[in-house]
């Protein structure tokens, strides 16, 4: 019986892959420059690239049990020492790019969603898929997506964004605070 189910599911899966068009819902809200304007008004931001070491990433992961996917952080700072991050969060059903502003004391001041994309697991392994984030070449993949203006469906939880913010808080606590 198990074998029969296995064969049935495999066949259905293969048919599904061959027949169904692959569409993913995506939305782009703000550009990085717009988010900076909203979060920092007219304050001048200077790029301040930070790369975590493997040990730092492991230590952050151990402290909060949330995976650190990228060692290289997209970070900016103002003259007064406040932080601006562009970060990527991968959830169960979604792939989100966030802009976060943080005061120099490590308090999160504002969060903006820059892009929201649905994901179905496999495509996040694709290097091109990941390259679209961090302000890179997003046009290539957005063209492939079905652009839908407004969508109404079951409520999605934003828990993964909260996890992402916790990860940034811990990164500040362990690494950025000392810079």
């Amino acid at each position: 019986m198990e074998r029969r189910n296995f064969i049935k599911n495999t066949l259905l899966g293969l048919v599904g892959l061959a027949v169904l068009p692959k569409v993913a819902f995506s939305k782009t809200y703000l550009t990085i420059a717009q988010a900076q304007k909203i979060l920092f008004k007219n304050e001048k931001l200077t790029p301040f690239p930070v790369t975590l070491t493997e040990e730092q990433a492991d230590s952050i992961e151990d402290a909060i049990d949330i995976r650190v996917r990228h060692l290289k952080m997209n970070t900016w700072r103002t003259e007064s020492g406040d932080w601006f991050f562009v970060d990527q969060v991968i959830g169960k059903h979604e792939n989100i790019e966030l802009a976060v502003s943080m005061s120099k004391n490590g308090n999160v001041k504002g969060i903006e969603v820059l892009t929201y994309r649905e994901s179905y697991g496999d495509e996040i392994m694709h290097p091109k898929w990941r390259a679209q984030f961090h302000g890179k070449n997003s046009s290539e993949f957005l063209k492939l997506d079905k652009q839908i203006k407004n969508i109404s469906g079951a409520t999605l939880s934003c828990r993964h964004v909260t996890d992402g913010i916790n990860r940034l808080n811990e990164t500040w606590q362990q690494v950025l605070r000392l810079l």
Binding site: T28, Y120, N150, I151, S152, G153, A154
Partner: protein
């Protein structure tokens, strides 16, 4: 002046809240307006969040669970929402019930920071229901111990409150996790999602200024729809969408319609001048209006 557009998304009300604005004003003015709208949504969130231990709802729940909820003075917003929930409870003979929080706590869909006793279904049956409280002249009273969750209505009310602040000459669409309102809705199209898979989408024309959709497809094996008589989850596939003039009404009606019979659905749609679209998991449509 040229037409400017602004499209922002923030995490509020436990979900993603999108605001789209467009009008003949400067981008700076649109940003200021969007800030006001997000602030208004956050204000309602702080009043009605079950998760937030400091919200007005949590304070009311603490009193109601201790059996001390007599003539509790409510804010205007909470009074309005509770009165509407009470009216819909009467109209659906108890099918729409905001006191199902204990069942949601039992299935780990809500946190138990109020320490409600939910070890068995019998414990939950001992608590009061949506018909056991009164909400009059700005005060809340109940004789029974009960626990309220406004997860099925507060998002809609928050969108309504924000929408009231938008000037008529600015196009605005606010979408709070599927509960949305649009001020210039005529001839606009809307996509409804009825299952988790990428192509489970159906495009329909907007029928009214507000729309809400409920479905279970992101919840795995769980369901947030609880049948009040059994206090257990109701599993259903597909989605239920309701158009009406207020998002709060649409939001609450989706839950009531899922639990109702066909004739009750017709009656509710007629009473609230709403149009309901039920999509099954394959995308077949049933209309109720």
């Amino acid at each position: 002046m040229d037409k400017n557009n602004l499209h922002r998304c923030k995490t509020l009300l436990g979900t993603f809240v999108e605001i789209e604005l467009s009008g003949d004003v400067s981008e700076g003015d649109l940003i200021t307006l969007s800030e006001q709208l997000f602030d208004e949504i956050e204000r309602i969130h702080q009043l009605m969040s079950f998760h937030d231990e400091d919200s007005e709802l949590s304070a009311l729940n603490r009193l109601a669970l201790n059996g001390n909820a007599k003539q509790v003075v409510l804010s205007k917003d909470l009074e309005y929402v509770l009165q509407f929930a009470s009216e819909l409870n009467r109209l659906t003979q108890g099918l729409y019930d905001i006191t199902i929080a204990p069942s949601l706590i039992r299935s780990n869909q809500l946190p138990n920071h109020l320490s409600v006793d939910v070890d068995s279904i019998d414990d939950i049956h001992k608590l009061g229901s949506g018909a056991d409280f009164t909400c009059e002249n700005g005060t809340f009273s109940t004789d029974k111990r009960l626990c309220i969750d406004l997860g099925g209505i507060a998002k809609g009310y928050a969108v309504d409150c924000a929408m009231d602040k938008v000037p008529a000459d600015i196009y605005c669409c606010i979408n709070a996790g599927g509960d949305l309102a649009m001020n210039q809705w005529k001839n606009q199209k809307m996509t409804l999602r009825y299952a988790k898979r990428a192509n489970a989408l159906k495009t329909v024309k907007m029928q009214n200024r507000a729309l809400a959709t409920s479905g279970n497809y992101y919840r795995g094996n769980q369901s947030a729809i609880i049948k009040p008589s059994t206090k257990r989850q109701v599993k259903f596939s597909g989605s239920m969408s309701v158009f009406s003039s207020k998002v709060m009404v649409s939001d609450a009606l989706t839950k009531a319609m899922i639990l109702s019979s066909k004739s009750q659905r017709m009656m509710l749609a007629k009473y609230y001048n709403a149009q309901a679209i039920k999509l099954n998991r394959l995308g077949f449509v049933k209309l109720f209006y």
